[in-house]
């Protein structure tokens, strides 16, 4: 008897688990708790037993009934709730925790690094405060070279003498050259350059790097070709800011050196890179340029995607967007790195990170990148 009751209880509970709708629940109630239900039948069956047995079993039946009724009430309650749930309005906003956002320049930089990495380029980086030697002299721009004007420099005041280890290694520098520069008659101080202190020598004044090329020679000093690297990094200019000009921005430098790395290889790498960056074939143009640290020097343009080369504000009516400066590394730069002249050849390029980012997302003002404005940042 006890066994049978226990079995009945388990069965009832199991059946209750699978009840899904109100009608099913009612059916269950009738089956087990109703006047003709299983429990009632069981109770009726007790009549054949002896008095003591009958009482004992009767008690157990009542206990089971009580428990089943409680379960039934609970199931009924939850069904009612579920009905309320099913009337939920799914046009309500979803529930989630707020996600943060990576800066669009971080995303673009990651993407660019990834593309170059899949082409076997390593990613290198150098310091942001460099010596004049790093930024100019080692790149074939001795003091007073007119090309230095191409980079408006921000100079850092330094209290001590800097020993430039590169000066010893290089064959270009003349460490004992002193300049008699003094600054006069320059009230706006716009072109202020630090006076050379008697203990400093040429090439050792400090500045915020004006281009990522400032790391080329240091890298080459520490590595033997062949190699291929990109150097993404922050650079600084003495420049007034406006919608297309910034005082602090990012560049991606590239350098590939080997026995026979040619301008044709430069085109090969760049065509593949831009095809992947813009996710389609893009029309590129190579034309003459000038940098003291490359010869031949190139400028690379891209056909304006905004107007299909018909001419527009974006491309200043020319149909072309400037992408980067580049060229074949100058032998004087190899010499500064301690390589034997004529033994190696390679290409170098420098492009802005902001330009492709602005093109990718349609951003119209470069100052937004350093604004810290959440209205801008959370769009990415």
């Amino acid at each position: 008897m006890e066994e049978k009751l226990k079995h009945l209880g388990e069965q009832a509970r199991a059946d209750l688990q699978v009840v899904g709708r109100a009608s099913d629940l009612e059916a269950w109630r009738v089956k087990y708790l109703g006047r003709q239900g299983a429990l009632a039948k069981f109770t009726a069956g007790l009549g054949t037993l002896a008095e003591a047995e009958r009482r004992k079993n009767g008690q157990k039946v009542n206990e089971l009934k009580a428990r089943l009724v409680e379960s039934f009430e609970e199931a009924k309650r939850s069904l009612v709730q579920e009905r309320a749930v099913h009337r939920f309005d799914l046009t309500q906003p979803g529930k989630r925790s707020a996600r943060g956002h990576l800066h669009p320049l971080t995303k673009m930089r990651s993407e660019i690094e990834h593309i170059f990495e899949t082409m076997g380029f390593a990613v290198a980086d150098g310091p942001e405060v460099v010596s004049e030697y790093d930024n100019f002299d080692s790149l074939n721009m001795p003091p007073d070279h007119p090309a230095r004007e191409m980079w408006d420099t921000v100079w850092v005041r330094s209290a001590q003498t800097v020993l430039s280890d590169l000066l010893e290694a290089s064959r270009l520098a003349k460490p004992n050259e002193r300049s008699n520069q003094t600054v006069q008659s320059d009230p706006a101080n716009r072109q202020a350059k630090p006076e050379l202190r008697s203990t400093q020598t040429v090439g050792e004044r400090l500045l915020l790097r004006a281009h990522t090329s400032a790391f080329q020679v240091r890298y080459m000093q520490a590595h033997t070709p062949p190699f291929r690297i990109i150097i993404p990094g922050r650079v600084f200019r003495y420049e007034a800011t406006d919608a297309t000009h910034e005082t602090q921005f990012y560049q991606v430098e590239g350098l590939m050196v080997g026995r026979d790395v040619s301008a044709a290889n430069f085109r090969g790498v760049m065509h593949e890179f831009f095809r992947r960056l813009f996710r389609k074939e893009v029309k590129l143009r190579l034309r003459p340029g000038y940098f003291p640290f490359t010869e031949p020097s190139f400028e690379m343009d891209m056909a304006c995607l905004a107007c299909g080369q018909k001419g527009c504000v974006v491309c200043k009516q020319s149909g072309w967007i400037e992408l980067m400066g580049a060229g074949m590394v100058h032998q004087n730069v190899f010499a500064a790195a301690g390589y034997v002249r004529g033994e190696w050849q390679g290409f170098a390029f420098g492009m802005s990170l902001e330009r492709p980012t602005m093109m990718r997302y349609g951003i119209n003002d470069i100052r937004l990148f350093h604004s810290g404005d959440l209205r801008f940042l959370r769009q990415f």
Partner: protein, 680 residues
């Protein structure tokens, strides 16, 4: 620089439409930024490359370049001057140049009986189109020839020049008044044209008032000279006089141009102002520049460019360039470059010439054939990428800020002494490099509070400090961030610091750093964090950062009355310490039992203290504890209510209820005794 296309056309036969010419120059020489119609003429704005200034900052130069690109002939202007036998140049004393190489060439012509008057229309129009102001027929003629040939010229009123012309360094403090009535105080680095009275011209840059040509002038001394570019450039910058002459001399001018320019201008002045030209000229050219021939190899051209040019093709280009070429052997030449191309000194320079004449677009597109073995990659960079993702996942947004701070901000940070100053800051109010990311992040909070009540930002950038070693600065990466709630009630403000703590804990957990912990701040204080309200972040014994509340004075500076929570980490150090891989822990064999414990404790009891008592009293069998409730009951400031789940588990057996009861009681007793807790 602006050029008149009509003018260029005079020297280049068969010149095409302006648009076509502009396209050709852009793709094969230098960029034509714009073409503007001016009546029948077109004005080109050309970005002449810095190394082509010597030959291409003149109409003749551009015309020669255009003719070269068109493979057509180039007709230089005719230069014929009628000299007067009755007026020998010997009448004019020989100029003297000082010896130190600052003036490689000095040429002088003389004229007399000229009539200075306004220039005719054809001349003034040409000058005005190109942005020059007409003055009189003599000065205008000099400017005209400069624009035509690229050689700057200067005319002196001969009557006002006293004694022989000298080219020398200025004396210290020597004064000179320019044609524009500006008085300059000179120094020995400045080169001057002088007579016996003193400086009459700032060499290569500007003429002097005292010898200027005006309506009364009848006699002329016309100077065409050549100066050392570096010296002229320095003086031009120092005295802030960027004249057309200075720009040209700064880049270098062909020294062979002087005599040709003198002949041209003398002829032109005679045409416009009459007068006689003296017979002969003075020409001091002590060390004529001899261009060095360049050893030029076909195999090198094709190797560097990646082309397959033939010997015949290359020879053809060299001929077009009118370079004197000598064939040494098959595929090897000796090339002598004319003096007007001082930019061509090495083999690579000639390769560029051949390359652009052929057309850079004709260079094939060839992927390099190279080893597939990748070069090393920086683990730190990858690690940072992952950390940023984790932070974004925790709801923090990445900001990029300028690296500059003000003196006031440095004082608030307590970092004035170690900051680096800029000599020429872009923003004069922020002339220092940031030694901490806090300043700009605080500004971000203040700015964003206009539109957002909650701000959670992080930044990964370099910070800069004075250094102690050979390299005088310490430049290091910093990972920092802020959490701030605007007008938040006190509880939410405290939560801001806990969110920062949660972020740091989350980052540590994401990278499997087991022994990260937070240590009470050392006795020494930090100016920018509120005293007693910040802690150090440590991994083992190494300090990797700080978290806490920003000091009130700092917040006030940014107009913030609200609490701002801040963290800063040393990512380079942290990356080093997270290198160890995390270790798997086998799943537990035996079940755990969870008991709750609720208590009242004195209000200033720290959670860490409660946890310590529980784990000490409970020992090994306390696997974990979880604070699930905490509040300050109404009307009571002296106590708080705290509740924990305690998870008991043994590694080697199933714990019995009785064991746990005993242990649990022991823990309760310990809490009562040591912390005056009231167990509920």
């Amino acid at each position: 620089m602006k050029f008149s296309y009509d003018w260029i056309r005079e020297y280049a036969e068969g010149a095409p439409t302006p648009a076509k010419a502009a396209e050709l120059l852009t793709t094969h020489a230098f960029e034509v930024k714009s073409v503007e119609q001016r009546g029948k003429d077109a004005v080109f704005d050309v970005d002449v490359l810095a190394n082509r200034a010597a030959d291409a900052l003149s109409h003749v130069g551009i015309a020669r370049e255009l003719a070269l690109l068109l493979a057509k002939s180039f007709t230089p202007p005719s230069v014929r001057v009628n000299e007067s036998r009755s007026f020998p140049i010997a009448d004019v004393p020989m100029p003297k140049i000082a010896d130190d190489g600052l003036c490689p060439r000095y040429s002088l012509r003389a004229m007399r009986g000229v009539r200075v008057a306004p220039s005719p229309a054809w001349l003034t129009q040409r000058l005005e189109t190109l942005g020059l102001r007409p003055i009189n027929n003599v000065v205008d003629a000099a400017n005209y020839v400069m624009l035509e040939l690229g050689q700057p010229l200067h005319a002196f009123d001969a009557a006002k020049v006293r004694g022989p012309i000298q080219v020398r360094r200025a004396k210290s403090g020597e004064r000179f008044m320019t044609l524009d009535n500006q008085t300059l105080e000179l120094d020995p680095d400045a080169l001057v044209i002088a007579d016996s009275s003193g400086a009459i011209g700032l060499a290569g840059i500007k003429g002097g008032l005292s010898t200027g040509v005006d309506e009364t002038t009848t006699g002329l001394l016309i100077e065409a000279a050549n100066f050392q570019p570096a010296n002229i450039r320095r003086s031009s910058v120092r005295f802030n006089l960027r004249t057309d002459a200075a720009v040209r001399f700064s880049r270098g001018v062909d020294p062979t141009l002087t005599t040709m320019a003198l002949d041209r201008v003398a002829g032109l002045i005679r045409e416009l102002a009459q007068g006689e030209v003296a017979w002969g000229s003075h020409d001091l050219y002590p060390n004529p520049r001899e261009p060095q021939p360049i050893h030029f190899r076909l195999e090198r051209i094709n190797s560097l460019l990646g082309t397959s040019l033939t010997e015949a093709q290359v020879f053809g280009f060299l001929e077009r360039l009118s370079f004197s070429v000598e064939r040494v052997k098959a595929g090897v030449w000796r090339v002598a470059v004319p003096t007007y191309r001082p930019d061509l000194v090495a083999e690579e320079d000639l390769i560029e010439e051949v390359g652009r004449l052929n057309g850079f677009e004709r260079i094939p597109v060839v992927a390099p054939a190279t080893s597939i073995m990748p070069t090393e990659s920086s683990e730190f960079r990858q690690w940072i990428g992952q950390v940023k993702q984790v932070m974004a996942g925790f709801g923090f947004t990445e900001a990029y800020n300028y690296a500059y701070v003000s003196a006031a901000e440095l004082d608030l940070l307590g970092m004035r002494a170690e900051a680096l100053e800029l000599m020429n800051p872009v923003n004069t109010e922020r002339p220092y490099l940031a030694p901490s990311l806090l300043a700009r992040l605080m500004q971000n909070v203040a700015d964003n509070f206009r539109f957002f009540p909650a701000v959670k930002l992080f930044e990964f950038a370099k910070t800069f400090r004075q250094g102690a070693g050979v390299w005088p600065l310490d430049e290091r990466w910093c990972l920092a961030g802020v959490v701030a709630y605007r007008h938040a009630p006190a509880r939410q403000r405290h939560d801001a610091v806990l969110e920062v703590k949660g972020l740091v804990e989350g980052v540590m957990e994401a990278f499997g750093v087991d022994d990260a912990w937070f240590d009470d701040a050392p006795a020494s204080s930090t100016a920018y964090l509120a005293a007693g309200r910040w802690v150090e972040v440590k991994v083992g014994e190494r300090v990797v950062g700080k978290i806490g509340e920003v000091a009130v004075e700092v917040a006030k500076h940014y107009g913030l009355a609200d609490l701002v929570a801040f963290f800063e980490l040393d990512p380079a150090l942290l990356e080093e310490l997270t290198e160890a891989e995390r270790e798997f822990e086998p799943l537990p064999k035996y079940p755990a039992l969870v008991r709750d414990i609720s208590m009242f404790v004195p209000a200033d009891t720290r959670i860490a203290d409660i946890e310590n008592v529980i784990s000490t009293a409970g020992g090994e069998l306390v696997e974990d504890m979880d604070l699930f409730d905490m509040y300050e009951p109404e009307g009571s400031e002296e106590r708080r209510s705290v509740a924990f789940h305690i998870v008991y588990r043994a590694k080697d057996r199933t714990l019995s209820e009785k064991e746990i009861d005993t242990l649990h009681k022991k823990i309760c007793k310990a809490l009562e005794t040591e912390l005056s807790a009231e167990i509920r």
